[in-house]
């Protein structure tokens, strides 16, 4: 068993600035060793501990889909010391990666069901991964209808414009984009995510809701789903917590007896209701 604290080494292959205010970037990483890339066998919804060695490490959801072969991607908002260092990095810089970590979205259980993806802000990264995975030619037949509701404060904050445009062109996915307030030139929906969920009213029949976003968005969107008959077991959330090790040892991401890093980050609303409100 190799030391789980030793990162695999990658290099930055590309950097994309995702939003207008330029505090969110997606970095694409290429593994230095082929065997490390092969060992990094992940599903959508998992995360990794990524580090600039000498600056520090932080847990970030994997934004790429396993179907996008060759590299992995992480979308990082500039917040603290480590994330700021990522923003100051250049192509070719060495990045440490430990992972994949966490349970991820239950891709096997989702098979045969309709999927309603509800996301807000930059928490859309693992949702990007999931949708790309489901839309892949090898997987599309395994899943039912797909609805994506994605909300942002304003049009400048919408991430992954290239893939969103692709999805909008397809007839096997319903993409609903919304921003909080009217804006000139914006032709999609306007309103908070919860209001759009109410309007779209996705059917709970044979369906699973996958939700990721700021806490207030999650709460209000979940309320709308429950009102139209969704069961707690069919509503899945991905949680965030402060973490250091990502492997259940450093202690801090516990919610009651569960660790977000190894028991999560994906929990159903039914599971969350049994846990203390400490997240």
């Amino acid at each position: 068993m190799p030391n789980p604290y030793i990162p695999m080494l990658t290099k930055i292959k590309s950097i994309i600035s995702e939003n207008e205010v330029r505090d969110i970037k997606t970095i694409e990483l290429e593994f230095q060793k082929e065997e490390d890339y092969k060992a990094f066998d992940y599903i959508p919804g998992q995360f990794a501990e990524i580090s600039i060695i000498g600056k520090g490490e932080c847990p970030i959801g994997i934004a790429s889909s396993p179907t996008e072969e060759g590299t992995i991607k992480f979308t990082i908002k500039k917040m603290g010391t480590v994330t700021s260092s990522f923003h100051n990095s250049d192509i070719g810089d060495t990045i440490g990666v430990r992972g994949p970590l966490g349970n991820g979205w239950p891709m096997e259980e989702l098979k045969g069901q309709n999927i309603v993806v509800i996301g807000g802000g930059f928490a859309f990264s693992t949702l990007r991964s999931l949708v790309l995975y489901v839309l892949d030619d090898n997987h599309r037949k395994d899943y039912g209808d797909i609805t994506v509701i994605y909300g942002n404060r304003d049009s400048g904050e919408v991430l992954y414009r290239d893939v969103l445009e692709e999805w909008e062109k397809r007839d096997d996915i319903n993409v609903v984009l919304t921003i909080d307030r009217e804006e000139e030139g914006w032709t999609r929906k306007v309103g908070f995510v919860a209001a759009i969920v109410k309007e779209v009213a996705p059917s709970p029949d044979n369906a699973v809701a996958i939700i990721c976003g700021p806490p207030i968005m999650i709460r209000t969107a979940v309320d709308e789903l429950v009102k139209i008959g969704w069961k707690d077991e069919k509503i899945l959330n991905s949680l965030e917590m402060r973490m250091k090790c990502g492997i259940g040892k450093c202690g801090r991401c516990n919610i009651g007896e569960k660790f977000v890093c190894i028991d999560g980050p994906v929990f159903s609303l039914a599971e969350l209701k049994k846990m203390p409100n400490e997240y």
């Binding site: 068993m1 516990n254 009651g256």
Partner: protein, 352 residues
């Protein structure tokens, strides 16, 4: 296996024989307190002590330790793994509660899909010489958590202090090998064994602190939101002594320490504590446990509720360090009493 007798005067001989093969750790005096340290001279070994201030946990899981070292060559990073994890360690004079903590730590670090290689390698290479407690402290409560002042199971060799001599019992295979090497030890007599048993009984009878932890766990599980937590946390000043001195606490922070002039550095881990508000503070400013009440509750719940559910045992060895260390006397015995009072009060209501 025949039990042996070690004269206290021969501790120096034992040390000089074993220190060639092992990194020899033993209790010694550091700034007026007992601590387990790497011994470089037999005279440093302190034999007359109740227990160390900081548990011997820190031999295997030190307050600060290197995870790996790194150096930069241009944009390339070279990672250097630790090479000292295969050193053979000997920890002499470990009290049964602390020896049992090694088992809890080992089970925890080995649990789940990811094993803590750093701790486990050191544990595997460590030999534990335990020693019975003739006079448990007033704050000791190992008998309430399934332990005993003469519990031998988690040690490799077990000593009983018979006055001028120690009764030496080899417990594990590792221990038997070690005792075999000390061929000069005299065989113990039946009377020595009898005396050890007597001492064990006397020690057991001297305990004043006793808890029914089965009941504690049950009450905790049912009373997460109980107002008693407000009362329990009121006097806590968040100093974290209880967690830093706990032989079963395992939380750590991870930091990169750089030696900028030499383009190198090391990633280290250092003890952290759930009693600090920074422990869970997220970069966004959000904090899942922002108040003392939540942090005090988390410590107690972790030891006596989460540990039983996750690992089927209590996360406490009854050493009493958190009791003696608390500067505001908000100590575990009082906390447990308050928790058990919930049950008593609700019982009264039912019967009334």
């Amino acid at each position: 296996m025949v039990e042996k007798i070690l004269k206290k005067d021969d501790i120096g001989k034992l040390y000089s024989e074993l220190e060639k093969e092992y990194k020899f750790y033993a209790p010694t005096k550091v700034k007026g307190n007992i601590a387990f340290k790497h011994i470089l001279n037999a005279e440093e070994i302190e034999l007359d002590y109740l227990n160390s201030k900081v548990p011997p946990k820190d031999v295997l899981f030190p307050q600060k330790e290197t995870i790996f070292e790194y150096r930069y060559e241009g944009k390339e990073v070279i990672i250097e793994e630790r090479k000292d994890l295969d050193d053979k360690l000997l920890i002499f004079g470990v009290r049964p509660c602390d020896a049992y903590s090694f088992k809890l730590l080992e089970d925890f670090f080995a649990s789940g899909d990811f094993q803590d290689d750093i701790f486990l390698k050191k544990r595997e290479n460590a030999t534990i010489i335990g020693i019975g407690c003739n006079s448990p402290r007033q704050s000791c409560f190992c008998t309430s958590v399934g332990g005993h002042p003469f519990q031998k199971e988690s040690t490799d060799v077990f000593l009983s202090d018979l006055g001028d001599t120690y009764l030496v019992e080899a417990i594990s295979e590792k221990g038997k090998e070690l005792v075999k090497k000390l061929s000069w030890l005299a065989d113990a007599k039946k009377a020595d064994m009898e005396k050890s048993k007597e001492l064990a009984k006397l020690a057991e009878d001297s305990f004043t602190t006793k808890f029914n932890f089965d009941l504690v766990t049950k009450v905790l599980d049912e009373n997460f939101e109980h107002p008693v937590w407000q009362e329990i946390s009121e006097s806590c000043i968040g100093c974290s002594s209880c967690t830093f001195l706990c032989p079963t606490c395992t939380c750590f922070d991870v930091i990169d320490e750089n030696d900028e002039y030499n383009n190198r550095g090391r990633r280290i881990r250092i003890w952290d504590t759930c009693q600090s508000c920074l422990y869970t503070l997220e970069t966004s400013g959000h904090n899942p446990r922002p108040a003392k009440i939540q942090r005090c509750r988390n410590r107690i719940m972790h030891k006596f509720s989460y540990y039983p559910s996750n690992y089927d045992c209590l996360g406490c060895v009854g050493c009493g360090r958190c009791i003696t260390a608390c500067p505001v006397n908000n100590e575990l015995r009082l906390i447990i009493d308050k928790i058990l009072e919930i049950q008593e009060k609700s019982g009264e209501k039912v019967s009334a």
